[in-house]
Structure formats: structure tokens, C-alpha cells
């Protein structure tokens, strides 16, 4: 069954790169959404939940960590949504704390299609 995807990043260029890399990884999504920060993502998720969110960490207005907390606490329709963080931040302490807040995975930039395949494939069934 095809899945839905949201890409959250303040850089429009990076959103396009993430989308291109998802396509190159061979993963199939029947609906894709974009948001430029955590607050915009939450508004969109309340209206229309998705299966998988790929989310940057450092963003203006609402960063990725706060977004994960709010989605888990306030967006009932996203109880089963998988949130994968995509960031240049690579410290293990930060990754551990984000996973504790409710994220389901972490991909560091720069990334490859193979990395997306490895991290997202378990959530595609």
C-alpha cells in the first residue's frame, strides 16, 4: 500500500533534494506534502495526517525537536506517524534526546538514497 510523506525543512532547496533522494531510493509515496517549519507542519498534520515525516532539526519559528514533542502530545491523528529527523547535527546526545521525545529515526546530512532506503523501508509496510 502506498504511503504519504511530509518533508519539513526551512530550505526550499533542501526540501527538493530530500524529495529527489526519496525518489532515487525507490520508495513509493502516493501523496507528498511540504512545510517550512515545525509550526506550519503541525497545522498541516492536524488537517491531513501523513504516514512518514522527514524533518530538519534547526529551523526558525519552531525547530524539529519542539515539533516532535507537539506532534506526539497534540496531534491525535498522527499517533502512528513515523518521524525521521534529517539534519547536519550528529552528536549522539542530541540524537538520543530526539529519539526519547518520540522521533522514530535519524538521518545525518550529507545523505545517500541507500541511507533513506535503509531508514524508511521498515515503515513502508
Amino acid at each position: 500500500m502506498a504511503k504519504s510523506l511530509m518533508i519539513v525543512d526551512d530550505s526550499a532547496t533542501m526540501r527538493k533534494i530530500v524529495m529527489r533522494t526519496v525518489r532515487m531510493s525507490g520508495l513509493d509515496f502516493d501523496r507528498t506534502e511540504e512545510a517550512s517549519n515545525g509550526a506550519e507542519a503541525i497545522e498541516k498534520l492536524k488537517q491531513s495526517p501523513v504516514d512518514i515525516v522527514l524533518c530538519d532539526v534547526n529551523m526558525p519559528e519552531m525547530n524539529g525537536i519542539d515539533m516532535v514533542k507537539k506532534v506526539r502530545a497534540e496531534v491525535a491523528g498522527c499517533a502512528n506517524t513515523k518521524i525521521i529527523m534529517v539534519s547536519t547535527e550528529s552528536s549522539q546526545d542530541l540524537i538520543d534526546s530526539i529519539l526519547r521525545e518520540g522521533a522514530n529515526g535519524y538521518i545525518t546530512k550529507p545523505f545517500t538514497p541507500e541511507r533513506f532506503q535503509e531508514k524508511l523501508a521498515p515503515f513502508m509496510n
Partner: protein
């Protein structure tokens, strides 16, 4: 001196990783190290703090920045590129190179905090950091056609 050589290598290898995996462009040390950036340039900077603090900068001639943006966005040509798209692309390059530098330094400098990148346009741009800052710079050729300069200003954190 040894430390500066290491930082220069770190900077070059980080940029090569980003250009190979994310931008699909070849990046090699400049074959003419005395050549200077000419005309209008874009400079992306990103600051960092921890036990090491400073600023990473990427300076690219306008044509180079546009070529990078075209590749990053998967476009055929740069005919319809906006200035904002080019700035966004160069800022993201700085962000990713900083991320790669950070992961390469993590054994020596833990917990480096990184800012959001900013991009300015101008001529003969350079960045500086007062008080005991060291500077390494690496000039590179992108696709054997364009000139770009990477620099790292750094000092012990306070």
C-alpha cells in the same frame, strides 16, 4: 602549522563528500592557487561555538553558485533560477559542509553548536574574527570550471 594543515584537509574532504553525495559535482583542489575570485560573489557563512568556536565561509563566483544551484535543484539550465534560490542553495552547501566538518572533529571537539547559515552578495568579500583567531582557506575547482573558496576561522572557545 600541523593543526592548520589538518583543518585544511578536514575542510576539503568535508566539501568533497557533500559535492559527491548531494550535489553530484566534482570538486578538486584549485590548480591555480594564486587565482582570485573575480566579480560578484556569494558568501555563505555559518558560525559555531563549543571548546572550538569560529565561522565557516564559502565564497563562490556568481556563475559557480548558479551552477551549484542548478545541480542541487536538478534543473536543466539556470535560466529561471531566482536569486533567492541561489542563495538558499549556497547556504545549504555551507550547512552541509559544516555538518561534515563537525562530525570529522567530534573526537577532539564535542558538542559543537552550529548557527543557521546566512548568505550575502558582493565583491571582494571576506570574513574575520577578532582576537587570536586562526584562519585556513582552501581554493577549489568545481567541475574543473568554477572557482570557489572555503575558509575556516577558529579559536579556542571561551
Amino acid at each position: 602549522m600541523i593543526q592548520q594543515v589538518c583543518f585544511a584537509d578536514t575542510l576539503l574532504h568535508a566539501a568533497q563528500e557533500v559535492f559527491e553525495t548531494m550535489i553530484f559535482m566534482d570538486l578538486q583542489p584549485c590548480s591555480e592557487p594564486d587565482r582570485r575570485l573575480d566579480g560578484e560573489v556569494l558568501m555563505a557563512t555559518i558560525t559555531f561555538t563549543s571548546s572550538l568556536e569560529g565561522c565557516l565561509a564559502i565564497c563562490a563566483e556568481k556563475a559557480c553558485a548558479e551552477a551549484i544551484a542548478v545541480n542541487m535543484l536538478g534543473l536543466e539550465t539556470g535560466d529561471n533560477l531566482s536569486h533567492g534560490e541561489v542563495c538558499d542553495a549556497i547556504g545549504e552547501v555551507a550547512n552541509m559542509v559544516m555538518g561534515s566538518v563537525k562530525s570529522r572533529l567530534t573526537d577532539t571537539y564535542q558538542d559543537i553548536q552550529v548557527s543557521i547559515p546566512s548568505v550575502v552578495k558582493g565583491r571582494e568579500l571576506s570574513n574575520s574574527l577578532k582576537d587570536q583567531a586562526q584562519r585556513v582557506s582552501v581554493k577549489v575547482n568545481v567541475e574543473d570550471a568554477h572557482l570557489m573558496e572555503l575558509s575556516l576561522l577558529y579559536r579556542e572557545g571561551r
